[in-house]
Symmetry: C2
Subunit: 304 residues, 2 copies
Amino acid sequence: MRFRLPPLNALRAFEAAGRCGSMSAAAEELAVTPAAVSHQIKTLEDYFGFSLFARSVRSIRLTERGAVLMPYLSDGLESWTEGCRKLVADDNDRPLVISSAPVFAGKWLVRRLSEFNDLHPQITVRLDGSLSVVDFANDEVDAAIRFGTGPYPDLHADALVNEDVAPVCSPALLEGPVELRHPADLARCTLLHVDWYAAAGTQPDWAMWLKAAGVENIDASRGPVFTSDSLAVEAAINGGGVALVSEFLVRQDLDRGRLVKPFDLVLPSNHWYWFVCPKESIERPKVNVFRDWLVAAIASDSNL
Amino acid sequence: MRFRLPPLNALRAFEAAGRCGSMSAAAEELAVTPAAVSHQIKTLEDYFGFSLFARSVRSIRLTERGAVLMPYLSDGLESWTEGCRKLVADDNDRPLVISSAPVFAGKWLVRRLSEFNDLHPQITVRLDGSLSVVDFANDEVDAAIRFGTGPYPDLHADALVNEDVAPVCSPALLEGPVELRHPADLARCTLLHVDWYAAAGTQPDWAMWLKAAGVENIDASRGPVFTSDSLAVEAAINGGGVALVSEFLVRQDLDRGRLVKPFDLVLPSNHWYWFVCPKESIERPKVNVFRDWLVAAIASDSNL
DNA sequence: GCTGATAATTTAGAAAAACTAATCTATAGA
DNA sequence: TCTATAGATTAGTTTTTCTAAATTATCAGC
């Protein structure tokens, strides 16, 4: 059985008053009224059964007993303060762990991360490309980039960019035997599919795009299915067919001529990439800095 | 500006849980429900913005960060505990300071104190014979013996013995030229007066005693006035006259034949000797022990 | 010797923190 | 499969802590 301490807040108030030599000064330090400090000290004195301060009308001084207690309290408080301070300081030294959907990591984040490193050399980012859903309470992950429709209750979430999809293919394919002038021409192409997850109909797919393009006599389900965008994109780059993927993700591939967009029709989606983290984490300097950079970097990318 | 600590109680709960490796065990140690500990730790994690425990369904373990914080908290808590424990322990080593009305100290307490010392050799009593009213908050006095009518609001008070007064004089006086067979004989004696304090009529005096004795033609105001009982008693012992003093106080002088009680009439008084101390102090072991001894010793004395 | 300023205290009541009871969840072990 | 268990959650209560305002007894400057 541990020794039962008096109320901790009373001890803290006493320590402050003892150190400052004045209740008012202690009150200011603790950001409370002098009355509060006076109450706390009275509580403590009642607890012990003897007074810790000798009072004059306008001043106080420690009694012999009060003076005995003081150094123990000051030392203990310092230890607690140091621990908490270290915890906050360490947080800034520790790598910022970002869990990201692999395709976002591979197609965008990895490429831009050096900018962030240049801007904030003191923050080391550890990128954890993983499909599994993050449990912030248990995995030691600071923030994640998630793909979905939102909202994310109990989490801080910023929508980054939405998943408007368009058909893309290798330039070689365009120059090949099959012409791609009109969406109907897709009937003679291999369609590359991505199956993100189970709930069909919520994510844009070939059937939806073809319908939006007014093409009706094409079997939208034919062609290989990939379990991730990046695989479908790779297949498209290699001339394996036409993939229906996020414009945003393949922007670099388009810019560099590895992919082309044979049609202008973009299918809007209610899916977005989100920056998410525990609500409290967004107050942490490095998490906040990363979020701000990420949002700005994506915005500048989108305005190109 | 000091570093702002998280709520101290949350830190304590976390320390206990970290040390015990379990919320339930910590709850038991802190004498609260596991829910309370869970809440406190959640508060702390929200405060820092990251988790300190990794949770499985039926167990917890410290995260890397939690482990950083732990030793600082344990050390600090130990320091506080040691300080408070020392304060309580020291209290027992420190002399028990009793402030007493000088006459009570001189005529009763000094004589009996050795009994107390024998019974409780570990408690050193310091007897402070002083008329001045004690201010427990400022004078470092543990308890006092006060004379008065009570009640004593805001103080712990035990009535010890009341101030029933009777005339006493030296045996030599009885054998002298003036016979003292009847109260009326006092007309030819020197009356020794004690003037305790200002409020006349509240304490028994010669006028009251003589009236109670049915004697009317004596000037009750003649004779010397002393400002303390002990002086009047000394005067009576030395044959200086007849003093009207507390039977209790002069019991030893009567027993030893230094004084005699010429008449049986005792004037009851609403004045008592009281044991008083701050309400909280009565819980302190040594104060409590002293009070118990004092009450018992006086009771046994009165039953002689 | 006044007078205003000051440090602490007291009281009553408001605000915030801490706690509990009851319920829920996901498992480990029988 | 069933039960017991550790922890989480929710809602509401209790306790603690705090403040505002009034009070007290100086001290310092005039």
